[in-house]
């Protein structure tokens, strides 16, 4: 045995390639080089390929006349408009169908989620069946079903189904009276704003009064009354400044009114029935996550069932529900890109479909479309971060 003592304060000698720091730098360098090389490879090839095949590049197309029509436009658009305008039309159509579907999906989803929690065996089983069914079939099939099997078997325009209230339903869609805003309508608009302000003031006053005196005002009823009553009074006082453009039967189609094309109807119905199943599941999980002790504690404080739900259960359940709900909204928005499969003119259909085909600039179209969706998702996660910090449990 060697008697030589090991020097105490000298750090063990490490060969440079075993030094964790150097190793880590080395690996990162390799990774970075590989990523850069890969991108360079793709970039270089793309340039060479585009050049060799004489394919146009850049965003010059943005101001070029599009030359094609789009079946549903929220802003004025004609074949004489530019590709840029067509992009905007597609984007707005995506936002429209997502917005409508998010609304209906939330309503249906919350109802089904609550029914699923019901103690009623029949109700809860049926809600469960709905959830399981839609969670286990592809969305595309749901869309095909509504579009190809339900809406397309509706009668032709000349045999339209008349629904009381000047509403017509046929294979070309749902026609409803279109409200036409007349001159004096701004009065009604302002009265709504005013009513909102009054309602907020009532609620605040009621809260302060309760804090000070302990007596409660029926603030909910009062504000509802103001919000409905005031605009109504103004509406009639201003001489009913709202006209209706009624749908009228024409030679081919029913003309006038507001035509909700079957593509739009199928998208909204399909997306909301499908997403509702996921929302219902999120709602159920959120309510279940609140422990039963909370309900019992609230009851023992003398709160009624309604108060318990509103003041104790919901604030806690929402903290659990909102994050998954939010990601459902995001995936619904992304799923609206399936419009291309049934001819709904959403962003993907118009931009990566028609515009890509007419210009041939695949790289630009696909990248722009991806960027749009990416910014949706970044906005959503920014909102989520804000929400999470806001509702985070404040603990001592």
């Amino acid at each position: 045995m060697s008697t030589q003592a090991i020097p105490r304060h000298e750090s063990p000698k490490v060969v440079f390639y075993n030094d964790p720091k150097i190793r880590s730098l080395f690996f990162q360098f390799i990774l970075l080089a590989a990523v850069i090389a890969l991108f360079w490879f793709a970039y270089d090839n793309t340039l060479a390929n585009l050049k060799k095949r004489n394919i146009a590049q850049g965003f010059g197309f943005w101001n070029v006349e599009a030359g094609f029509d789009i079946s549903q436009t929220l802003i004025s658009y004609s074949a004489a408009s530019t590709y840029g305008r067509a992009f905007l039309v597609g984007l707005l159509n995506t936002l429209l169908v997502s917005g409508l579907s998010i609304f209906f999906a939330t309503v249906i989803g919350v109802i089904i989620g609550v029914l699923r929690l019901s103690k009623n065996w029949v109700v809860s089983r049926l809600a469960g069946f709905y959830i399981e069914l839609f969670r286990n079939i592809p969305l595309l099939l749901v869309l095909y079903f509504w579009y190809g099997a339900v809406l397309s078997s509706l009668p032709e325009p000349r045999d339209s189904i008349a629904i009381p209230g000047d509403i017509w339903l046929n294979s070309r869609g749902l026609l409803v009276p279109r409200p036409v805003i007349l001159d004096q309508f701004w009065l009604v608009g302002w009265s709504i704003v005013l009513a909102l302000g009054v309602a907020v003031a009532i609620t605040r006053y009621a809260r302060r009064r309760q804090a000070e005196t302990g007596r409660r005002l029926p603030a909910g009823w009062l504000s509802t009354l103001v919000m409905i009553g005031l605009p109504l009074i103004v509406y009639f006082a201003a001489g009913q400044p709202l006209g209706l453009d009624l749908p009228v039967k024409g030679r081919f189609n029913i003309n006038g009114g507001l035509n909700l094309a079957p593509e739009l109807v199928a998208m909204v119905v399909g997306l909301s029935t499908y997403t509702a199943a996921f929302i219902a599941e999120a709602v159920r999980a959120g309510v279940v996550a609140v422990s039963k002790g909370q309900t019992e504690a609230a009851h023992s404080l003398g709160l009624t069932d309604g108060q318990t739900l509103r003041l104790v259960i919901m604030p806690q359940a929402l903290r659990v529900i909102v994050p998954p709900l939010n990601s459902e909204f995001l995936s619904l928005t992304k799923n609206s890109s399936l419009g291309v499969s049934i001819g709904y003119p959403d962003l993907v259909n118009v931009f990566t479909g028609t515009v890509l085909n007419q210009t041939g600039q695949a790289v630009e179209m696909v990248s722009v479309t991806m960027l749009v969706y990416l910014s949706f998702s970044l906005l959503t996660s920014a909102f989520m971060n804000w929400f999470n910090t806001r509702v985070a449990l404040v603990e001592r």
Binding site: L50, K52, R53, N54, I55, A56, G67, F68, D69, I70, S71, S78, A79, A80, S152, S153, E156, S171, R172, G250, R251, F252, N253, N255, A261, P262, E263, V340, S341, G343, P345, N349, G353, T354, L356, N357, Q358, T359, G360, Q361, A362
Partner: protein, 338 residues
């Protein structure tokens, strides 16, 4: 991990990802032993596969003619069905060697899509099909109608132009594939369906009740349809172009599938040049000198192809009209082989 990568490389290689260095298209085709041809997924008379995957049609036979010229075997073709939406990217990206798929020759397509036409194998124009019970006799009566159209076509643009120039209103319903557009028309989503008139003739036959549908007399556009290739490979462009011309010249000189063997023995100097008994025209294209013989033996001349697939005796019943040879009042004209 390494094993997985190795497996992936093997899989990728056998998937046909790596086919070696980028040589000319002709060399690639010869090396692979088959021509990859972008075809119409289903337009009777032009390109349609039956249930067993056997393709028929005028455009399909153009691919067979090219394969016959290269390999002396018209079966060495792989057909890739392409929707109108995917076709140009498929060609530009190299997925197919040649696209013969009722594609309209336009200036912007050649200047921006990286493709180039080799000729016009069918002179066509856009029309409308409507259901008989609507009682429409002319396209001018289509004011306010819903019209189904396929995405990514000149048809879509012509339609907009037509209604813009006539100042009428219409509602367009756009679909990704022609079959979806047609199905939508058939189930009553639209009053009219529009595409090239040759396509309309084929599509009308595919309806549940063909006689319930009429093709309106108006032709609202010029639609020169023909085979096209990628830009940047002139040898390949020449080959496809001259296969097309050879088919026309064969008809002009009366060389048919039946008599081509006799014609080879002919003393006529022009026929000797065409059939390769004189000169080295085939070799200059990178083919054998008997290339025209191979083509005609496989598919016949242009006239025979037309009669067999779309002519008056077929269900499509299309007349030669503009597609007759130049010396018979049509537009089909080929430069001489010399």
């Amino acid at each position: 991990m390494k094993k997985i990568i190795a497996a992936a490389v093997v899989a990728a290689a056998s998937f046909g990802l790596v086919t070696g260095a980028s040589a000319g298209t002709l060399d690639n085709v010869k090396a692979k032993g088959q021509l990859v041809c972008g075809a119409n997924p289903g337009t009777a008379g032009f390109g349609v596969p039956d249930e067993k995957g056997n393709w028929t049609g005028l455009d399909v036979e153009y691919c067979r003619a090219i394969a016959a010229a290269i390999f002396n075997d018209p079966t060495k073709v792989k057909f890739v069905p392409l929707s109108s939406k995917d076709r140009f990217t498929a060609l530009a990206s190299g997925e197919v060697d040649v696209l013969v798929r009722n594609s309209t020759w336009t200036m912007s397509r050649e200047t921006t899509l990286g493709v180039i036409w080799a000729g016009i194998n069918f002179y066509d124009g856009q029309g409308f099909m409507v259901n008989k019970k609507l009682g429409v006799k002319s396209a001018s009566e289509l004011d306010g109608a819903s019209i189904c159209v396929q995405q990514g076509t000149t048809t879509e643009l012509n339609l907009a132009d037509y209604f813009r120039s006539t100042g009428k209103k219409y509602q367009v319903v756009t679909f990704g594939t022609s079959e979806e557009a047609l199905k939508a028309y058939d189930t009553g989503r639209c009053d009219a369906y529009t595409t090239d008139r040759s396509g309309l003739a084929a599509d009308r036959l595919s309806m549940a009740k063909p006689d319930d549908n009429v093709i309106l007399p108006e032709v609202i556009s010029k639609e020169p349809l023909g085979p096209l290739v990628r830009q940047g490979d002139d040898q390949w462009l020449n080959l496809v172009k001259w296969v097309h011309f050879a088919l026309l010249i064969a008809e002009e000189d009366g060389i048919t599938q039946a008599n081509v063997d006799e014609k080879v023995k002919s003393d006529d100097p022009e026929i000797k040049r065409i059939l390769g008994t004189d000169g080295k025209f085939g070799e200059s294209l990178g083919l054998s000198n008997a290339w025209v013989v191979q083509i005609v033996k496989a598919v016949g001349n242009y006239g025979e192809m037309f009669e067999r697939n779309v002519g008056p005796k077929t269900p499509l019943q299309l007349a030669r009209a503009s597609n007759a040879l130049w010396n018979k009042g049509g537009l089909q004209y080929a430069p001489p082989i010399r």
